[in-house]
Amino acid sequence: MTSSDDTSPGILDQHDVQAVNSAKMRQPLYAARRKIFPKRAEGTFRRFKWLVMLITLTIYYVTPWLRWDRGVYAPDQAVLLDLANRRFYFFFIEIWPQEFYYVAGLLVMAGVGLFLITSTVGRAWCGYACPQTVWVDLFLVVERAIEGDRNARIKLDAAPWGPAKLVKRVSKHSLWLLIGIATGGAWIFYFADAPTLLNDVVHLQAPVIAYITIALLTATTYTFGGLMREQVCTYMCPWPRIQAAMLDEHSLTVTYNDWRGEPRGRHAKKAIVAGVPQGDCVDCNACVVVCPMGIDIRDGQQLECITCALCIDACDNVMDKLGRERGLISYATLADYNANMNLVAPQGQIEPARARDKTTGALVSAVKHTNWRSILRPRTLIYFLVWAGIGLAMLTVLSLRAPIGINVLHDRNPLFVLLSDGSVQNGYDVKILNMTTQPQDMVFSIAGLPGATLTIPGAADAPTTQLQLTVEPDLVLPLRVYVRAPKGEREDETDFTMSIANADGTNSVSAQVRFETPED
């Protein structure tokens, strides 16, 4: 293959490879998946991806074990989705089911956040933070540790079955399954007290649903991360399709800068001597072999690309060795790319010499280099303001909400009851909410209805206008309330208020309530 290649005197690996998922060799739909053996990449983006993986996996595995003291009446788990009692605990926040709009708000923020991220840095979610990407990376670490890097894996895959291959394969899949179990096992701890549940799970005393959840997530983790990998992104995930609508010409995408790379060739010096123009791409295919999606980035932006930027690392290493500028493959915006293309290919044919200074050989100053300022534009600022606005609004509402509450439901049938002395009685189902983790002494009262009194069977049998009561922590106290108003001149309907307040007056919440009377 590589004879006395003048561009790579022993310092460059030339990979004789065709991208598996290239448009040039699109497979018929019925064809079986062709395996991808991504080579290990080294460089800035790879290091950044390791860091992101460390952070995301740490968050995932450690969060359920964080403790948060809420007193004796509430669980001390920092993040807990208590489905049985319908409570959601998140550090200092406790959310009840009727406050689900906070979760809806979070989802809206996540949606707008995806717009924001995509319009600025493209598919950064796909490339760095998506669980599919993180877990595939993790599975690849295991695969490389056992079977070796790309070439060794290709050789092993082609080798006939024997004891050595069997041992490697069995241990790889066992480790994958263990990771799967650890994934599913960590998930369940978000839904119950983690230490207790771990003890129960180990001693086979946990609820069946816990084991089913672990089994399901083990299966999906193993299948998606180990067996299906890039197919999940390409065929199952809607995001690659949706995000095309969110990118614009100023979004960062992983770009092969063919304005300086083409015409590519492995024998640059020979070509130059022969008078044929040569670009920076030496066609070493380093970008192809590291790609976990099995594509050739030099074919341009394509649906499969998750912008993991490993090809940037691979190419930068090659450029370093060749003593050329980094960034033949780089994060660039379409606008900058087009400007550079117009510079070097005014006639539609790339003339790489136009990008370089005749004397020094450096890139001319007219060449546009994408920098971080591309993220500051009206569109992204609007996204950010919307995103931050929702977040601030939620925080404000959250910090102002009263930790007690009152819900009132007027009887529908009968709307009112005429009593023997001519007065009118209305019945209400009242719910008093104590959303704190301590018992609360409260005062329930009515106001705004002249002469009215209330009775509560079992709690206030004698007519009164207010009632002292204690509500257990984190509970709803249901009350059956009868309000009686004397005979007199009154509209058909009168509004009055029912209030609940802390005995010490710290919080007070009122509900506007209707009093119905017979028509005359």
Binding site: A23, K24, R26, P28, L29, Y30, A32, D258, E262, P263, R264, R298, D299, G300, M341, A345, G348, Q349, I350, D411, R412, N413, P414, V417, L418, L419, S420, D421, G422, Q425, G427, P457, G458, Y482, K487
Partner: protein, 307 residues
């Protein structure tokens, strides 16, 4: 129209040699067509995706196994029972049985407890109120209405006026034995004489006493006269009480309050004295078991007017 290509790019084109064109092959994609055409649009003969096909085969296999174990193949008006002998009807019956079995203890407790003690026990009272509410919907709403607020001739059970007494025991007795039930010897029974029809009072006296009764609760046209008071004392006080406040033991309604079983107006009072209307309520002990009657009593007593 030519697709603009960046230099160095190869337009996606599949090698037509990969496919054996049985019939027409599409020029652009190189894929055989089905031969179907609509307005010049041809259908490519792409194969089904693998995952789809395997899911389809798995469904067929599942259906085959399912039809062996569960009711599946129709035979005339019935179907093959399946090896597991499953039926949704039996499952429902089993569910109902288990609910019934689960309630046995508390139902026996209710049957064994005097009704006044049920009201005093919060646990029993909660169960009895819920059970009574559902029994009320089946047996009582026809006359008393879904909100138990009654209507002309049918008492409102939410208010604080009780013709036969509003204590829990009185309510229980009324439900168990009914009012003027022809079949129950212990039924609540009274009859108001036909003062007009049987000529026990002349027209003028009826009008006088009706006007007097109307005045007791301040109805329009009511006038309190000594003659009316005398007629009332002689003819009505035995059942309605000397002060006209009613006698619960005899079922004589209170005539001084704002509530009327029939319409609260002078003509209605006069008509009632002329030829009284009488309601009738079945003795429910003939149809319902004692626990259900107790539940009904607890529910009705707790509607807001119980004494």
């Amino acid at each position: 129209m030519s697709t603009p290509n960046k230099p160095g790019k190869n337009p996606g084109k599949t090698d037509p040699g990969q496919h054996t064109p049985a019939n027409h092959v599409d020029d652009f994609s190189g894929i055989a067509t089905t031969g179907h055409e609509w307005d010049g649009i041809q259908e490519l003969n792409n194969p089904l995706p693998r995952w789809w096909l395997w899911t389809f085969y798995a469904c067929i296999a599942f259906a085959a196994v399912y039809s062996v174990f569960y009711p599946a193949w129709p035979i005339g008006t019935s179907a093959t029972p399946g090896l597991l002998g499953y039926s949704s009807r039996a499952e429902f019956a089993a569910n109902m049985d288990s609910v019934q079995a689960g309630n046995q203890t508390v139902l026996r407790q209710i049957a064994d407890t005097p009704v006044a003690d049920i009201v005093a026990d919060p646990e029993l009272a909660r169960f009895a109120t819920a059970a009574g509410a559902s029994a009320f919907k089946v047996n009582c709403t026809q006359c008393h209405g879904t909100g138990a607020s009654g209507g002309p001739g049918y008492p409102n059970l939410n208010d604080d006026s009780w013709i036969w007494g509003g204590t829990i025991d009185a309510v229980y007795t009324t439900i168990a034995h009914g009012v003027r039930s022809p079949t129950d010897p212990d039924t609540r029974y009274n009859i108001m004489p036909n003062f007009g029809a049987d000529e026990l009072l002349d027209k003028a006296s009826i009008k006088t006493v009706a006007t007097y009764v109307a005045s007791l609760s301040g109805l329009e046209g009511g006038v309190s006269t000594p003659e009316g008071a005398t007629i009332f004392a002689d003819n009505c006080a035995a059942c309605h009480g000397e002060n006209a406040k009613g006698v619960a033991d005899l079922g004589g309604p209170d005539l001084t309050d704002a509530l009327w079983l029939y319409e609260g107006s002078l003509p209605s009072i006069q008509a009632q004295i002329e030829k009284p209307r009488h309601g009738m309520m079945p003795a429910w002990s003939e149809k319902l078991d004692d626990a259900t009657i107790k539940e009904l009593a607890v529910y009705v007593h707790g509607l807001g007017g119980g004494q």
